[in-house]
Symmetry: C2
Subunit: 79 residues, 2 copies
């Protein structure tokens, strides 16, 4: 199965990378950009074939390694 | 409108970051991880209210700034 994890900084946590992108877009002449947040996406190929077991496993990966749950939230999609 | 852009390295382009995550998951005891690719996700708040115009604008942002189209591909979702 394939899992896709999106890890974003939680609301309220300063995102200097997103802020830099917002400034750069403004400098390039893109008006009307009100905010930018940047996060990461991790695509994982799993040998597991059961969707529920895959989700449980990927949740454990997020908690242990992929996300810093103090400042980041994550979303998991299983295909 | 909100736009979400996912930027991933194209297939065939070496992804050392994803490879590092795969090794780390193996070390933590997660078996059955066959491959990991890591990319970035950029959420953009736009003043634009027309979905087609927003998509055109975000495509231009990707081509000019957000993705290096030589080695990266991008996907745009507009909400």
């Amino acid at each position: 199965m394939k899992a896709r994890v999106q890890v974003m900084l939680k609301n309220g946590v300063l995102d200097p990378q997103g802020e830099a992108v917002r400034h750069a877009l403004g400098s390039l002449g893109f008006d009307g950009v009100e905010g930018v947040r940047q996060g990461k996406v991790i695509e994982i190929d799993l040998a597991e074939t059961d969707a529920d077991a895959a989700r449980t496993s990927v949740t454990a990966m997020c908690e242990k390694l992929l996300a810093n749950t103090v400042i980041e939230s994550y979303e998991i999609e299983i295909d």
